[in-house]
């Protein structure tokens, strides 16, 4: 074996062994750190498998549920309403909210009162809040019927078949609490 061949073989070995031994030495006290970077470790330590609620899951996956912003509007004659939603973009990249749609249902009587959706997609800058105006129409006859049935107090509204498309990810909830939406109906 000539000198050139020996030198090239040694270079080949050093190239492969050097970096691997180096990183093993650096992480010798924390071998899990070799395959589990701190970013993933943080995410998995926040993840509590026991928590089954949607909001807890969304908190660990960074995307947060939209919240009500400002005063909802409801026209009792036409049934038209608008519902301003605050959506926070926690990411370092711009995201678009392409769709929010749901059915509004009275859980007590199992009657669908109307629908809610957003009129157009919006883009939200990194770390910023975006106000999305969700609009819809509640059937006035059904609302009045329920008011009569429950002595003017409709307090068990839920959002059903909620579909949210944000940042290219589609989320579907079978049912969500309608929250302050029912305050519209008095």
């Amino acid at each position: 074996m000539n000198k050139m061949k020996i030198a090239l073989t040694l270079i080949s070995i050093a190239i492969v062994v050097g970096p691997l031994v180096g990183v093993l030495l650096v992480y010798r006290d924390n071998l899990m750190g070799l395959v589990l970077p701190p970013e993933i470790k943080d995410l998995s330590s926040n993840s509590n498998k026991d928590s089954s609620s949607v909001s807890k899951f969304l908190n660990i996956s960074v995307l947060q549920l939209p919240t009500l912003a400002g005063q909802p509007y409801y026209n009792q004659q036409t049934g038209a309403f608008s519902y301003p939603i605050n959506f926070t973009n926690p990411l370092s990249t711009e995201i678009s909210v392409d769709q929010i749609s749901a059915e509004i249902k009275s859980k007590n009587s199992n009657i669908i009162l109307g629908n809610i959706s957003i009129t157009q997609p919006i883009k939200i800058a990194p770390g910023a809040n975006g106000i999305i105006n969700a609009t819809g129409i509640l059937d006035p006859a059904t609302v009045n019927q329920l008011k009569d049935q429950y002595s003017g107090n409709i307090n068990n509204l839920v959002l059903e078949n909620v579909n949210i498309i944000v940042a290219g990810v589609q989320m579907h909830f079978d049912e969500l609490d309608a929250g302050s939406l029912q305050s519209l109906l008095g």
Binding site: I11, I15, P37, L43, T93, Q170, H172
Partner: protein
């Protein structure tokens, strides 16, 4: 009479240059990229620079970083040695230089593709369908999310320019190996012709 001597192994020269170009480009452009949604999850995979993006945060895995460093050094050595060989294909040590350099890009390419195939196969077994090329709608398996909740996202995978350049580089390396016999043969023929001419003159 002058004999045209191929002083260079042109395939090797092209291979050496392309290997170094692939190396430089791969720092900026991955060989294969996977995106989920609007860059919510991003995997930039290449033997030179593999990193992951999760909700806008970039990170790398130390063990993968070390293997990337192995690939960087391997491609650098392979490219440089291939260039040196190509310029001196008829030297006594040229066969060693060629043997050292021509197989490495092919090995890196095969290991990279094999790694991708193994990872996507394992992901498939776990219920995560990852397309190597193209797009698919990916539904998060129900065991990972709460009941009455579903998430689907568009997952896209694609090979990028450096991957195709690496294939070209590997092919040129093999061509350089096949051309080696011919190149040195013609050179030897040229030198023997020159030597016999000298003898005749004497």
């Amino acid at each position: 009479m002058k004999t045209l001597s191929p002083r260079l192994n042109w395939f090797g020269l092209a291979a050496g240059i392309i290997i170094l170009i692939v190396l430089v480009i791969s720092f900026y452009v991955p060989w294969w990229q996977l995106t989920v949604g609007q860059d919510l999850v991003k995997v930039n995979a290449s033997p030179v620079n593999t990193n992951f993006g999760l909700f806008g945060k970039q990170f790398t895995v130390p063990l993968i970083w070390a293997t990337n460093l192995v690939s960087i050094l391997t491609l650098t050595a392979s490219g440089v040695v291939m260039l040196v060989y190509s310029i001196f294909p008829a030297k006594s040590y040229s066969k060693e230089l060629l043997g050292f350099s021509y197989k490495k890009p092919l090995y890196i390419l095969i290991l990279f593709v094999s790694g991708l195939l193994v990872i996507t196969a394992i992901a498939g077994v776990l219920g995560f369908s990852i397309p190597l090329v193209g797009s698919t709608n990916f539904a998060v398996p129900t065991q990972f999310i709460p009941s009455n909740f579903a998430i689907t996202a568009l997952v896209s995978g694609s090979f990028q320019l450096p991957f195709y350049l690496a294939i070209v580089a590997a092919a040129l390396c093999i061509a350089a190996r096949l051309y080696h016999q011919r190149a040195t043969g013609i050179t030897n023929h040229a030198s023997s012709t020159s030597a016999s001419t000298n003898v005749t003159q004497k």
